[in-house]
Amino acid sequence: MNPRRSWMIVPAHDPDAVARCQEHKPDVVVLDLEYSVPPKSKEAARAGLADAVKKLGEAQVDAFVRVERDTRWADVRAAMHRGLKGIVFPGPDAPEEVSDLGNHIAAMEKERGLDPGIVELVLMLESAKGFWNAAAIAQASPRVTALGVGRIDLTMQLGPLPQDEFRLYRFLMTRTLVAARMLGQQPLGALWRPGSRGGEATKAGTAKAAREARLMGFTGCVCATAEQVAPVNEGFAPA
């Protein structure tokens, strides 16, 4: 399997961004139905997935679709086409949510004539409930291949500490790492710092966050913007 260091978010409603996403050389393309898609463009984003997934699959690119927690059933339905590697599920709270979504994916595989079990599931933890249940959540479906730390400073309102880190951040990263490694899943995350994270992060800040995460045991992370792909690939490369 190719390394999966950089998971680049590509807004699925933006045909130009989708067409050009490979120029940035991400290890993984994540077609987004969530944060980067405005509500008014959601239907267009879903409608474009069949074609985008097919093309990326033919180009041997690892193509995932990030669904929105509250609309995940319809989002998965829109994403399930030949060429899809997997689904990214942000913010699971409980094991049943993951097993239910896994079953939904299985039903869709059957309906769309895909090989049973071929579509992976990647979980991004974003809530206190999710982190408390991390190990149980990660083993709730045999499809889960990666377990990650989402934008928890925002989703969990973790403010900055005097030592230029977010409150609880290292603990939650390590808790995720242990659960992922226990289950043979890829640990995803970066040690984002206050002032350099998300779409705001500089290239240097991104490289540092990735490098520190690699030292902590992580092997890849989500890139909110195309500019982050190169520093993330570099940061997660073995020294």
């Binding site: 944060y35 980067s36 898609v37 405005p38 509500p39 008014k40 463009s41 809530s127 206190a128 409930k129 982190f131 408390w132 249940n133 934008r151 925002l154 989703t155 969990m156 309102q157 973790l158 403010g159 900055p160 500490l161 005097p162 409150r167 609880l168 290292r170 603990f171 939650l172 808790r175 998300g198 779409g199 705001e200």
Partner: protein
């Protein structure tokens, strides 16, 4: 009244008239009437008998009242601690669900006997040991009573139990603090504690330390702090209250996000900063907290002027 605002919960000893008689003039959000560590064994019984009259003395300035009881004397302490006017019972060295259920049942009986609405007095398990830390989830879910999770953030007892030197210049409570906080957050229970401020002085009375602590807590979005010395009260209260600038910014964020939503957008920019559902939630939280602080301050001001006039 406004019990959720406890920017500064200050320990007072009911047996010391100098402290208890003046407490109401010092402006604390909360006074904790202590029957535990600040009271010598020979004084415990006298302290118990002073609790009821101490409530009315300490809350004259509009403060909420908590009572901290003794782990080995739960049965003996509670009949002296559960009275109208008491907002919360603090249960030190809580280690198991059974500890919490035992206290809860006695409080419930006393509430019924004394005309206090059942389950209205909150219960605060203080996590001060390895066992309490590891049992946190089950003890937080042990009773139907409203729970505030307290502790895990160091302190004398926790340090002794874990064999930690507490006056060190690095944070050695990362695991217990985070584990307790995560359990509480996963249950939507408010938790205190969480930001380590180096203090190698061995002293707890320095008000510059209080301002530093308040700034760190405020930045980390933590609203509650405790104090052992009155010099901490004002720095903590002002430091944990949103500033006028923060409130103005939060209002701008809410307005900008409402406009975005109307336009069918989810992410936008305001003065060069990203505005999205997360910033919106944080802004709402700031406004909500600012309003709660203002209500508490107004309540305290009214109580204070009544008390001064009397």
């Amino acid at each position: 009244m406004n019990n959720r605002v406890s920017r500064c919960a200050m320990f007072v000893t009911p047996t010391n008239p100098r402290f208890i008689d003046k407490a109401w003039t010092r402006g604390g959000d909360v006074y904790i009437l202590d029957i535990e560590d600040s009271i010598a064994p020979a004084e415990k019984q006298r302290c118990r008998t002073l609790i009821r009259e101490s409530i009315e003395k300490a809350n004259k300035g509009g403060a909420s009242i908590y009572v901290r009881i003794n782990k080995p004397f739960v049965d003996a302490d509670l009949p002296y601690a559960v009275w109208p006017g008491v907002d919360r019972i603090m249960l030190p060295k809580t280690e198991s669900a059974a500890d919490l259920r035992h206290a809860h049942e006695i409080i419930l009986r006393l509430e019924k006997e004394r005309g206090i609405p059942p389950n209205s007095i909150e219960l605060s398990p203080m996590i001060e040991s390895a066992l309490g830390t590891m049992n946190i989830y089950e003890l937080l879910t042990a009773t139907p009573r409203k729970i505030y999770s307290q502790g895990g953030a160091g302190g004398y007892d926790m340090s002794v139990d874990l064999g930690i030197e507490m006056f060190a210049d690095f944070d050695q409570y990362t695991f217990p603090v985070a584990y307790v906080a995560l359990a509480a957050m996963s249950l939507d229970i408010e938790a205190t504690g969480g930001v380590f401020i180096p203090n190698t002085s061995g002293r707890v009375d320095q008000s510059d330390q209080a301002a530093k602590q308040a700034a760190a807590f405020h930045a980390a979005h933590i609203h509650h702090a405790g104090a052992l010395h009155p010099a901490f009260i004002q720095p903590l209260i002002s430091g944990l209250t949103p500033t006028a600038e923060e409130v103005a910014w939060a209002n701008k964020v809410v307005d900008a996000f409402d406009q975005l939503t109307d336009a069918g957008e989810a992410v936008g920019r305001l003065d060069g900063k990203v505005i999205d559902k997360y910033e919106y939630k944080l802004a709402k939280r700031t406004l909500d907290w600012a309003a709660a602080c203002a209500a508490k301050d107004a309540y305290k001001a009214r109580a204070l002027s009544r008390a001064q006039a009397a």
